[in-house]
């Protein structure tokens, strides 16, 4: 109540803004981790999630199509394998299954894209 919890976020330089296609994704290597980074240029927003689709354990989410759904235009990514869709904000599965993917904060400074690792 009234106290702020500070979470240590390590901002990792991922790439330059023009490395990621407009309204598309790319995969970022962080140690042994694979992170999918999305340049939602239509909305001027950036998102990041795990690259692994939990449905069939495929490292492919960065190659999925992004878009929006619903009245509130929730941003989402659809896995290219079987079109399971996930919210880019909460990581929740939007196609009626119990999957959950990890999301990461993203910030852009001076044309450089950073992913926040908690």
């Amino acid at each position: 109540m009234g106290t702020t919890t500070t979470v240590d976020i390590e901002w990792v330089l991922a790439c330059y803004t023009d490395d990621v296609p407009e309204n598309g994704g790319a995969c970022v290597k962080h140690g042994d981790e694979q992170i999918a980074l999305y340049n939602f240029s239509r909305r001027g927003e950036w998102y990041a999630t795990q690259n692994l689709c939990p449905h069939k354990q495929q490292m492919v989410l960065s190659r999925g199509m992004i878009g929006s759904t619903g009245d509130d235009c929730t941003p989402k990514v659809a896995c290219p394998f079987h079109k399971k869709a996930f919210s880019l904000i909460s990581g929740a599965c939007l196609t009626g299954e119990d999957y959950q993917i990890k999301t990461y904060p993203v910030k852009v400074t001076d044309g450089k894209v950073y992913i926040g690792i908690v």
């Binding site: 991922a14 790439c15 490395d19 990621v20 296609p21 407009e22 309204n23 598309g24 994704g25 790319a26 995969c27 970022v28 290597k29 042994d32 694979q34 980074l37 939602f40 239509r42 909305r43 354990q57 495929q58 490292m59 492919v60 190659r63 999925g64 199509m65 992004i66 878009g67 929006s68 759904t69 619903g70 235009c73 941003p75 989402k76 659809a78 290219p80 394998f81 079109k83 869709a85 009626g96 119990d98």
Partner: protein, 829 residues
């Protein structure tokens, strides 16, 4: 606060459903589940799909975290061994002792294994659990002949499984004189028998197995009539036995032929212990279907949360597909004259048998049987269950209305509000109506908010008709739209984009759509843009489906396949050598495709541009195997070599393939050219097929292989090369402009009002006055052809996109792994 402890014994479909129902009704309970298997609850109804591609996780009904999130303590691999009813304690195999307030037995059933000498031999299996299936799967690798004991529903499912596993010769052994004696009558059984025989199944009726013969493993079956049958493996599926051993040990009342006796509240002879599902015996009956099991689960969940309801028997109507043959029985299927009147339709040519039993006064439907065509099942079942008055000609129910007005959809709307639409989840028509009135407008919406259709799935067509019917009745305009972002059909959007000359996706979305797009409208618009302007598709790579984005087909494990075009299937030795060298250099698996070309699998995304650079240098072009575009024009060798050939089919196939290569369409397109009526190129299974005649060519269109094969129909006979190409031009262009997204030509034609005669009129007689336009538009697409791989290979910016890691472009995806198979590789994942 006091939280009663509920121990559930058994984690099958019904045990799981009980937990779900109880949680939905009350949170005041402390639930503990014990399961014998190592897996969480899975779908046993669709068990046979495990053999045609579904995995254990696909079949799973839930996740481990679901149990934890809902506060359920789950013990897997730990069957309950003993119940102490005096102290209300159970003991598990692993040594847990748990006190309960209420105990729910959902122990299910096991396979009945008859006492036949040799039953313990290696190679004899039962068919109940995923573990059984794994054993069968491993053993089947080395088996050529398999047999199933039991010609009932489960036996035939097991036979289907053996076929799916690639067993060359499958036998079904049944000691009764007919198949599925519990569900269908003898005429229906005869029809099913001949249909299954024609599909390659060997069925032996009136056969009593005397012994399983063999040294250690099974080698043959010996029958009572002294005949025998050599086999390599055996699956026993001769019925089920309720698992009541735990209840017996605890002194609960059980039936003489098995089953835990329960009252209408599903209470056993101990009022704190309940039994549900296939282990429960209610009024001398075991209910071996999932829907009554779910209803029992609901009865107990309601009772415990203070809303009493009872179980008073259950409708055992079923509909299923056995090895591709529809089989359904509903209501009172066996009632016969003079207790009712019977209407029978029999068509041995098509393997269809339909029987309905109506009351003597002709007012009501009592029950019936459907073999070979069960489309009417849902409506017939509703007519029985809701005692809907029959029309004056009740034969229309199975024959369809012959002449007169056909009022489609009126059927579902005339159902009473309390009609049970989904029996697995007990969802009534009124529940679906109110969901639609609250804004649901698709089957998916209904699934989410009512759960209807999420069980066996049999009611989905009915749900769909209902949703459309209610929306129409509410005056809501039911429109064929692309997705939530575009309120247009593909054809409307095609015209809008064309007239307004819009050339990229974002502008299309700004002008004609809303929101930010999605995985449905992006590729649909990409296809329209491509069919109209034929620009290099990778310039707008992020609106393409993954295959079109990387110009290669994504495969298991995340690698891609490479298919160069080999027009007409003709290739020089030098080019064959290049394919071999490239495949070797990049470690690719090679296989001849069904379309007479060579597919190379297992390419890393990083390697694709280099692989294509080498192929293009050797004179190859993209094969568009990844696109909704022309795939191949298959040909036979034709008159140049074949002594029967009438014309040179290879040259014509090459000319046609070169003409239409690269053109984007609503779906993939395949063609074929045969040099004579023997039809070696299988042209009549293609979107367009050409067969040589004495006088020229016959042109067939709208054929299809795939899951619903359909023969192509004759569009024009005895035409010359030039006319043939003109008609294909118009036919393809008309298809490209008017079909819905992802609709093959066969489906497009099936939906077309007027069908083939309409299409003929448009293409040949120019009834719409658009022929000249179609000719021009096609010529423009032909003239603007480019090899998109060449464009990528020569463009450094486009090449850069073919990297797995954006921040380590040289590195390949380390999660991609291969293993050896027959001197090549396959994906390991």
């Amino acid at each position: 606060m006091f939280q009663p402890i509920i121990v559930v014994v058994g984690n099958g479909m019904v045990g799981y459903k009980f937990c779900e129902k109880l949680l939905a009704k009350s949170s005041h309970f402390n639930i503990i589940v014990f399961g014998e298997e190592s897996r969480i609850a899975y779908d046993r109804v669709h068990l046979s799909e495990y053999f045609n591609g579904k995995t254990a996780s696909d079949l799973s009904l839930s996740t481990e975290s679901w149990y934890a999130d809902n506060g359920i303590k789950l013990h897997l691999n730990d069957p309950v061994q003993e119940i102490n009813r005096v102290e209300k304690i159970i003991h598990s195999l692993k040594g847990f002792t748990v006190k309960y307030d209420y105990l729910v037995l959902a122990t299910g059933s096991s396979a009945f294994v008859p006492d036949i000498p040799g039953v313990e031999k290696e190679g004899v299996f039962v068919y109940r659990t995923i573990d059984d299936l794994d054993l069968i799967k491993n053993y089947a690798v080395n088996a050529r002949v398999g047999a199933v004991m039991g010609g009932g529903l489960l036996g035939l499912e097991a036979a289907k499984a053996l076929i799916d596993l690639g067993i060359e010769e499958t036998h079904v052994i049944e000691f009764a004189p007919r198949l599925m004696p519990r569900q269908i009558d003898s005429v229906g059984s005869g029809m099913l028998l001949s249909k299954l025989k024609s599909l390659g199944l060997n069925i032996h009726l009136n056969k009593n197995t005397a012994a399983f013969v063999g040294e250690h493993k099974i080698e043959a079956l010996k029958f009572n009539d002294d005949t025998s049958l050599p086999i390599d493996m055996m699956v026993i599926s001769a019925g089920i036995r309720p698992r009541d051993e735990l209840a017996k040990l605890a002194g609960l009342h059980t039936g003489t032929r098995g089953g835990i006796i329960v009252n209408e509240k599903m209470q056993t002879s101990d009022e704190c212990i309940f039994a549900i599902g296939e282990c429960a015996l209610y009024e001398s009956m075991i209910y071996g279907l999932v829907a009554p099991g779910y209803e029992m689960a609901d009865v107990v969940a309601s009772y415990l949360s203070g809303n009493e309801k009872g179980f008073y028997g259950y409708d055992m109507s079923t509909k299923l597909k056995l090895i591709g043959v529809d089989v359904a029985s509903f209501g009172d299927a066996f009632i016969a004259e003079p207790d009712c009147r019977t209407i029978v339709f029999e068509n041995t040519h098509k393997g269809v048998y339909k029987r309905i039993n109506i009351s003597n006064d002709g007012k009501y439907l009592l029950g019936g049987i459907l073999i070979g065509d069960a489309d009417a099942y849902n409506m017939l079942l509703q007519t029985v269950n809701n005692k809907i008055a029959l029309p004056p000609s009740p034969e229309d129910l199975i024959l369809g209305s012959r002449g007169g007005e056909v009022n489609e959809g009126a059927g579902v709307m005339s159902l009473p509000d309390d009609a049970l639409i989904c029996s697995c989840e007990a969802v009534s028509k009124s529940a679906i109506c109110s969901a639609v009135n609250d804004g649901a407008c698709s089957v998916d919406d209904i699934k989410k908010c009512t759960k209807a259709g999420t069980g066996c799935g049999g009611c989905i067509p009915l749900v769909k008709d209902l949703v459309v019917g209610i929306m129409k009745a509410n005056g809501q305009y039911v429109k064929n739209v692309i997705c939530e972002h575009f309120e247009y059909s593909r054809q409307e959007l095609f015209d809008l984009v064309k007239i307004n000359k819009v050339k990229n996706y974002d502008l299309v979305l700004d002008h004609f759509g809303k929101g930010d797009g999605c995985e449905v409208c992006k590729p649909a618009v990409a296809s329209i843009l491509s069919s109209l302007w034929n620009d290099v598709i990778v310039k707008q790579d992020t609106i393409q489906d993954s295959n079109d984005r990387y110009l290669a087909n994504i495969q298991k494990g995340g690698t891609y396949s490479v298919v160069p075009r080999i027009p007409g299937g003709e290739i020089t030795p030098d080019k064959l050598i290049v394919i071999g060298q490239v495949a070797k250099k990049y470690g690719l698996y090679t296989k001849i495709t069904g379309g007479q070309r060579i597919d190379m699998f297992g390419a890393h995304v990083n390697d694709l541009p280099e692989i294509w650079e080498e192929l293009i240098d050797a004179g190859f072009e993209s094969g568009h195997a990844y696109g909704k575009a022309l795939r191949t024009v298959k040909s036979c060798v034709g008159s140049t070599w074949c002594r029967f050939g009438l014309h040179d089919s290879v040259s014509f196939a090459i000319e046609i393939e070169e003409r239409y290569k690269g053109i984007r369409a609503p779906h993939k397109i395949k063609g074929g050219v045969s040099g004579c009526i023997r039809e070696c190129a299988e042209a009549q299974s293609k979107d367009f097929g050409i067969i040589a005649t004495e006088k020229g060519w016959n042109l067939y269109v709208c054929g299809n292989g795939g899951s619903k094969p359909q023969h192509a129909q004759l569009l024009a006979a005895d035409v010359d090369n030039e006319t043939c190409i003109k008609y294909i031009d118009r036919f393809l262009m008309f298809y490209i402009k008017t079909a819905d997204p992802l609709t093959r030509t066969a489906t497009w034609l099936n939906k077309m009002e007027g069908g083939m005669s309409y299409l003929k009129n448009v293409v040949i007689n120019d009834s719409l006055g658009i022929a000249e336009k179609l000719d021009e538009e096609m010529q423009q697409l032909v003239d603007t052809y480019h090899c998109e791989w060449k464009e990528v290979v020569e463009n450094p910016a486009l090449r850069k996109r073919f990297a797995h890691f954006v921040n380590a472009p040289e590195e390949k995806d380390p999660s991609v792994k291969f293993e050896a198979m027959r001197e090549q590789v396959k994906a390991k994942w």
